[in-house]
């Protein structure tokens, strides 16, 4: 577990978000520090994905404040693409680019955004593939990979932009059980390297192991927040007690 620095990486206050009439996030406030690993838990439909997607503005929100790396995400004048370069995101369903092979999936953004020339980007991509244990898959297309391999490629792809922050939305939920471990291992390694991460997950054991902090969401609110031990083993709110009784 890494030492928490005092730098606030992500500041969220009174975040409110609706889809039409449906108010999904009602009043969310929290600060996430540099190097911190935060796991978000909660029942399906509680707004976890929506919260995560507000952090890189894949979803626009109605009111409240989200400040990432000093950028006010509600401000229409910021260059959102520049801000996103620094925030990697990993999706439940991988979302690898189906038209590109693994190497090109990794090289697309760095080359297209002129973060690196082709040679450098390729070297870095190969290094990232090595890191996630998939050096032999550089030429494979997404449809030729298993779920666990796809997700490791997706993580490597995000890392190729050298982000400061990584967001994970249920990275192992779409995987067969035997492939969960290989993906968690990569995330564990990132935690050890001090990456700031926000992870939506149902892997309770993993949450207890890597997270500095756990957040339990329900009905558009943060219901419990604290160390994983506190939140998972000794929840105080009835909704949280009920949830952890069911999943533990």
């Amino acid at each position: 577990m890494t030492v928490r620095s005092n730098n606030v990486k992500i500041h969220v206050s009174h975040l409110q978000k609706s889809f039409g009439d449906l108010e999904v996030l009602k009043d969310i406030s929290t600060d996430i520090y540099e190097g911190e690993v935060v796991v978000i838990l909660g029942p399906s439909g509680s707004g976890k994905s929506t919260f995560l997607r507000c952090l890189n503005r894949l979803e626009e929100f109605q009111s409240g404040e989200v400040v990432v790396d000093g950028y006010n995400m509600a401000d229409k004048k910021i260059d959102i693409n520049k801000v996103r370069e620094n925030i990697g995101m990993v999706f439940q369903h991988f979302n690898l680019f189906n038209n590109l092979n693994v190497l090109k999936n990794l090289m697309l953004a760095p080359v297209d955004l002129k973060k690196a020339d082709k040679e450098t980007a390729k070297k870095q991509a190969l290094a990232m593939l090595e890191k996630v244990g998939l050096s032999d898959k550089a030429d494979a297309y997404p449809h030729q990979l298993s779920g666990g391999q796809k997700q490791r490629v997706a993580i490597a792809r995000a890392l190729c932009m050298n982000p400061d922050i990584m967001l994970f939305d249920e990275p192992t939920s779409a995987l067969d059980p035997e492939m969960v471990g290989e993906v968690l291992q990569v995330i564990r390694q990132l935690a050890a390297e001090g990456m700031t991460m926000v992870i939506v997950s149902h892997e309770i054991g993993f949450a207890r192991e890597v997270a500095d902090r756990a957040i339990f969401m329900d009905g558009g609110y943060i219901v419990e927040e604290g160390t994983p031990e506190e939140v998972i083993l000794n929840p105080k709110e009835p909704r949280a007690i009920d949830f952890f009784n069911k999943v533990l």
Partner: protein
């Protein structure tokens, strides 16, 4: 029949050339219209989407023969008599416009469906890496959309090629129009129409074969 081929063969080949010219011109502008309106139909802007929808509804609701008459006779009439501006359209110009509008509307629908068939996660992943909407469209979404669109687009090309025959009504010397003259001269409608039918058949079958080959070459999840 041999007789007709020797005497009128060259004329018919030339007419086929005119048919192909008209089809190519029409398709070229149809592609441009199709891409513009197709992209408009997937934008966030409601105005853009409504404009595309109205365009498609109009083209769907009006037979092409009416559209052709309207463009060839109606539009110049309006310019000359109502606006007082001299304007003439050649049959080729009017035919190209009619084909382009007609095929363009259907192409825009094909392109819309193709783009929408690509999982939104592809766009989101590209955006999350910092690519702009248009770069994501260009590098990730369109390449995948085009692959699914190709069979339908080729099919639309074939329909458009056949639709050129409708433009015989505005006097453009394409295959059907020319064939009519040949029939009038020879009185052998059986042979003439048989020959013309075979000519269309050869061109269109070749096009279909090329399409199949192209489709196979472009697919990335079937081979390898």
């Amino acid at each position: 029949m041999i007789n007709i081929l020797t005497v009128y063969g060259q004329l018919l080949i030339k007419a086929l050339g005119q048919t192909l010219l008209l089809a190519l011109l029409g398709l070229f502008f149809a592609c441009i219209l199709g891409i513009i309106f197709g992209i408009m139909s997937v934008l966030k802007s409601k105005v853009c989407r409504v404009i595309q929808q109205v365009f498609v509804d109009i083209i769907r609701g009006v037979p092409m023969i009416v559209l052709a008459f309207f463009i060839y006779f109606g539009v110049p009439y309006a310019f000359n008599n109502l606006l007082g501006v001299r304007m003439v359209l050649t049959a080729l110009q009017a035919g190209t416009i009619a084909l382009a509008l007609n095929c363009g509307a259907y192409m825009s629908e094909i392109i819309r469906a193709g783009i929408q068939s690509v999982d939104v996660g592809q766009m989101e992943a590209a955006r999350s890496l910092g690519l702009s909407y248009w770069r994501s469209m260009y590098r990730v979404v369109m390449p995948q959309a085009i692959r699914t669109m190709i069979p339908t687009i080729i099919n639309q090309f074939i329909i458009t090629l056949k639709d050129t025959s409708i433009l015989s009504v505005i006097g453009f010397p394409e295959l059907v129009n020319t064939a009519k003259t040949v029939v009038a001269n020879t009185m052998d409608s059986f042979s003439v129409w048989a020959i013309v039918g075979v000519m269309y058949l050869i061109v269109i079958t070749t096009l279909s074969k090329v399409a199949k080959a192209l489709e196979r070459r472009l697919s990335y999840d079937r081979k390898k």
